[in-house]
């Protein structure tokens, strides 16, 4: 295989590839914050990438850049061979902006995201939480969407609560519903943003089990977490971030067992 063909083959196997990502908060203001600095990231199909690092290191922002909830200021994201970047959108062309937003929504329908604080829709029952996007975004008939929603709830063991409202659920149950909601869109990539950080200790295990089951089923995932045991066990590859940069990257077990960077060593020592 030639070098170029090899590059193409790996590129095709990548579900998502981020290149040259920079992100600032309050850009151009006195309190400007450079939260992501020249970050490159690749995730292959079926791979579980774990992202760890101290708070404020840019982990969550990186996830948000991948689905453009926080659009990167520079750089591009290639998802399933399609590249999106905000830089390339002419600022004053309405047509170009609409096209960008349409492509962006297409991205998002295939990228599931699970949030630290669940963000379930409080005015909808569990079933409608899961069925809403399949109906309103994918245009599925209501019946079909509900069947699909129920199947996803079944998978996370929440089918029995289909008619309950989020306020009636425990944190762990809410998060499992949130996972079902993301899965109902049949995503090609799942992003977990500290999915267990807001949970009571005894509820963490159940949610981690769901994520583990997904990994076993071959789902491509990026998992931001503080659960090092989980990272070692489920992560294929691990990225350590600090101050907006990727400091160290490698097979999860290796990095956790024998970190090379001094900063990583320091971080792992502090939390373990």
């Amino acid at each position: 295989m030639t070098a170029a063909a090899e590059t193409r083959a790996t590129a095709a196997a990548d579900v998502v590839r981020a290149e040259g990502i920079n992100k600032w908060f309050h850009r151009g203001h006195a309190h400007e914050l450079h939260v992501l600095r020249d970050v490159d990231l690749r995730v292959a199909r079926g791979e579980v990438l774990v992202v760890i690092g101290p708070s404020g290191s840019g982990k969550s922002t990186l996830l948000r850049c991948l689905n453009f909830l926080a659009p990167p200021d520079t750089g591009s994201v290639t998802f399933l061979g399609e590249t999106l970047s905000r830089e390339s959108v002419p600022r004053f062309s309405v047509g170009a902006r609409l096209d960008y937003e349409r492509r962006l929504r297409h991205f998002r329908t295939q990228i599931g995201m699970v949030f630290q604080h669940f963000n379930l829709f409080p005015h909808m029952c569990v079933l409608d939480n899961v069925a809403a996007a399949p109906v309103r975004v994918l245009g599925l008939p209501k019946r079909e969407a509900r069947e699909r929603a129920l199947a996803e709830l079944e998978r996370v063991g929440m089918a029995g609560k289909a008619r309950a409202y989020p306020s009636q659920l425990s944190g762990g149950q809410k998060q499992r519903v949130a996972i079902a909601r993301a899965l109902a869109m049949r995503p090609q990539l799942m992003l977990f943003d500290e999915a267990t950080s807001a949970l009571d200790p005894e509820l963490i295990g159940g949610v981690l089990d769901e994520i583990r089951k997904l990994a076993d089923a071959g789902m491509t995932m990026i998992v931001v977490t503080h659960e090092m045991g989980f990272a070692r066990e489920v992560g294929d590859r691990l990225v350590f971030m600090d101050e907006g940069r990727i400091v160290e990257e490698g097979p999860a077990r290796e990095v956790l067992a024998a970190p090379r960077s001094g900063r990583t060593q320091e971080f792992l020592r502090a939390i373990l």
Binding site: E101, N119, P122, A132, S167
Partner: protein, 230 residues
């Protein structure tokens, strides 16, 4: 002493006229409900549009909405009714009926207040709700209609109901341009029967009943809407 007596003590209560005028008062109630009902529906819709403009990403829209809100909150309904009914008619030659002028004045004035109510209610919806909707691929309008607005409405209902009550009460001011609403009818009847105490008391009773009915209906609505929220 004797000169004062007829004024103070010579007032004879004539409650017996009340049943006689019930038909006319009932008609007045209908007009008052029509006037405030139409105004509240239009103001709810217009207020939402103004609130959306106020929160728009386009600066000119934001500024226009700000000016609109400040303008209509600055002056009293009394002035607007006169300006619309007499002023506009004289300047542009558009002849509005008193009822139309009343609905327009009440709508504009209250939509400005409602825009502010909507704005704070929309702001009260958690940022995570937007993110969750967007992450699922919702477009802005769809996220707004499906996720954000239903939650904001629940927050806004108590204040919107207060505004509705204010509209009912303020609708009495519109009578100055000659509407035959509850206030207008009563004023005419007072002139005819010379029984101000009885008639204004009945009038107050009617307004009070309408307001209490609205509050009761609102309480039921609020309970239904809040049922599943924390």
């Amino acid at each position: 002493m004797s000169a004062l007596a007829p004024g103070l003590l010579g007032y004879t209560f004539r409650w017996s006229i009340v049943p006689e005028v019930m038909g006319e008062l009932a008609h007045g109630v209908r007009i008052t409900l029509e006037l405030s009902g139409l105004s509240v529906v239009f103001a709810l819709a217009l207020g939402l549009l103004v609130a959306l403009a106020r929160g728009s990403r386009l600066a000119p829209l934001r500024i226009a909405a700000y000016v609109y809100i400040q303008l209509f909150r600055a002056l009293s309904l009394y002035i607007y009714v006169l300006w619309i009914y007499f002023g506009i008619a004289a300047a542009v030659g558009v002849n509005l009926s008193p009822l139309e002028a009343g609905v327009i004045a009440l709508t504009f004035l209250n939509s400005a207040y409602m825009a502010e109510i909507y704005r704070s209610a929309l702001g009260a919806v958690d940022r995570g709700q937007h993110e969750a909707a967007f992450s699922l691929g919702f477009s802005r309008p769809r996220a707004f209609a499906t996720v954000i607005l239903p939650q904001a409405i629940r927050v806004a209902v108590p204040s919107l109901v207060n505004q509705f009550v204010d509209i009912v009460k303020d609708s009495s001011i519109v009578a100055i341009v000659g509407t035959s609403d509850l206030m207008g009818v009563t004023t005419q009847l007072v002139g005819y029967y010379r029984a101000p105490f009885e008639l204004y008391t009945v009038l107050a009773g009617f307004y009070l009943s309408i307001v209490l009915l609205i509050s009761a209906a609102a309480a039921v609505l609020e309970r239904r809407l809040q049922r599943h929220l924390r």
